[in-house]
């Protein structure tokens, strides 16, 4: 019998996500997939498995989980308060979760999207070669309390107790952008002001897009209403009718009529996706050559992280016992410091 992850209590916005489904743009369907791909690479590195496996994405809030058989788990992305049968669990680490143990994940302490990975991946039925829920397209559904999520076969069940230092992407900062469809429609002074302006995330947003706030006049092309609907790409920074910026996230539409001043480079995309209300963001245009030089594909990221994974404690087999002792708390504080 295959293992299942039982959802005892689902947070409000939990879905199964992977790298999404490519090749469907011509049918009006964006690739979708995890909002924070770096978190997928980190989870794959911690569990020593493929980047393509599906995990549970948890927006803002975790939930409670139990496994029908012993499984491995790893937690990445937005760090949340976490415990396994009452013993504190550190983020960005892998654990053995024995059958019947209860994993409890609380609210995100920074960032938006936390990820629960399982050894072998979530093995739900794929649709167009992906398990990713794409709710705006009517594909998949929110994870509900009581769901039994099938877990794939895990050949590495004894490899747990690893930890890695996550890529910092939870505190905003400078986000590099490349020209997009309508960049040239924005006058040079408007583009310069765009680069000089301090933005921050607002609470408005979902997996389709993230709204940004700023002080100053709107960023306008001066021909806002006459632009023909044009192809959109994830990361595009769209100025809606009133000049309000939205960064398009994985469930964006495939075509749209609002002008886009630029598009976030793939390497900085997670910074925007994980920015919470108030997180400061600035945009800086780079050349294609600069962006390419800085580009690290996810598979490279996964491989590099897999090499830098460290044992969480000296003896992973005793990890569960050790977690009930206070001596581990020093280490936990250490990781918290790195995450924040």
């Amino acid at each position: 019998m295959t293992a299942a992850l039982i959802v005892r209590r689902a947070g409000p916005a939990m879905t199964v996500q992977d790298l999404g489904r490519k090749g469907q743009l011509v049918y009006g369907l964006a690739a979708g997939g995890a909002a924070d791909r770096v978190a997928l690479a980190e989870g794959a590195a911690l569990l020593g498995q493929s980047l393509g496996l599906a995990a549970i994405e948890m927006a803002g809030m975790g939930g409670e989980f139990e496994a029908t058989q012993d499984i491995r788990i790893a937690l990445t992305g937005a760090p949340m308060k976490a415990d396994l049968d009452g013993a504190t669990v550190v983020w960005n680490a892998s654990y053995l979760m024995a059958a019947g143990q209860r994993l409890t994940l609380g609210a995100a302490r920074s960032g938006n999207y936390g990820y629960l990975h399982v050894g072998g991946g979530i093995d739900s039925k794929p649709f167009l070669a992906s398990r990713a829920a794409h709710l705006t397209a009517g594909i998949g559904k929110l994870i509900q309390s009581g769901d039994h999520l099938p877990v794939g076969t895990d050949p590495l069940l004894d490899q747990t107790g690893n930890v890695l230092i996550p890529q910092d992407r939870f505190s905003g900062g400078t986000v590099t952008v490349l020209p997009s469809v309508h960049t040239a429609h924005f006058p040079e002074d408007v583009r310069a002001r765009f680069e000089a302006t301090a933005f921050e995330r607002t609470p408005r947003g979902n997996r389709q897009g993230a709204e940004l706030a700023f002080e100053g006049p709107p960023f306008s092309t001066g021909e806002q209403l006459t632009i023909l609907s044009e192809c959109m790409t994830v990361g595009d920074i769209q100025m809606t009718g009133d000049g309000q910026p939205f960064v398009l996230l994985p469930e964006c539409q495939t075509v749209g009529g609002y002008p886009r001043i630029g598009t976030v480079t793939p390497g900085d995309f997670a910074k925007v996706a994980q920015a919470t209300p108030g997180t400061p963001l600035r945009f800086e245009f780079v050349t294609h050559e600069q962006a390419l030089a800085a580009h690290r594909p996810l598979e490279t990221l996964r491989a590099d992280m897999a090499r830098s994974v460290q044992p969480l404690i000296r003896d992973p087999h005793r990890m569960h016992d050790l977690l009930s002792y206070q001596l581990i708390s020093g280490a936990i504080t250490g990781w918290d410091h790195i995450e924040d």
């Binding site: 649709f127 490349l178 020209p179 040239a184 023909l228």
Partner: protein, 252 residues
Amino acid sequence: MTDQAKQSKTFPRLQNVGLDGLLITFAERLSDGANRAALAFRGRVEAADIEGITETTTSLASTFVLFDPLKSDLDHIRAQLLALLDGTDWADVPLPQGRRLWRVPAAFGGTRGPQLDEAAKLAGIDRDRAIEEMTSTRVRVLTIGFAPGQPYLGTLPPHWNIPRQSGLTKQVPTGAIAVAIRQLVLFTASTPTGWRMIGQTAFRGFRPDQDAPFTLGVGDEILFAPISEQELTEIENTDQTGLGGATSEVIT
């Protein structure tokens, strides 16, 4: 900023989009020719099977090409696309093979098309003439978007260049046909819209329970076959396929 800041006004126009995209635009405004060009050029790019290109799609008047920037560099892909463009008038190039003609039963007017009279009036014709035009004009899938599998169909004769409503219709049903700016939308999901609803079908452009969930491809054509409201109700009550009584054949 890059040199792309100084945008060319000549068409076709090739521009970079992000790290892995190239957009080839055939016109600033939608015309039947510009859409044909976008579809034909996409077909040409697909057939050329250029190393590094990962996906192609079209909007109303552009072809969009995605590539893997680590497999093939931007300059190389640009050069290949420019070579394919090659001064050809893509509006005159035959559309790709394999497109289908769909005959889709549709009820116009009445409760199934509450804004038919209003739309016909804006187009300067009466309702009978409007139905006659809607059921005798082969319209092409100009692009698919805004919702998965949802076609924008056209182009209708010039007198159908009617504006969208200033307000929104709160909800049109799945399968609704709505009109504006010489185009029809055949809605794949119930949604608010600024387009005027003139008819309805039981045709589903997105059928997630099917192995091939997208019913239409870009460049396919639709001819609406007039049926009564009662006939539509019967189809709705009996159809298991989501095709709503539609049949199709390859356009030769």
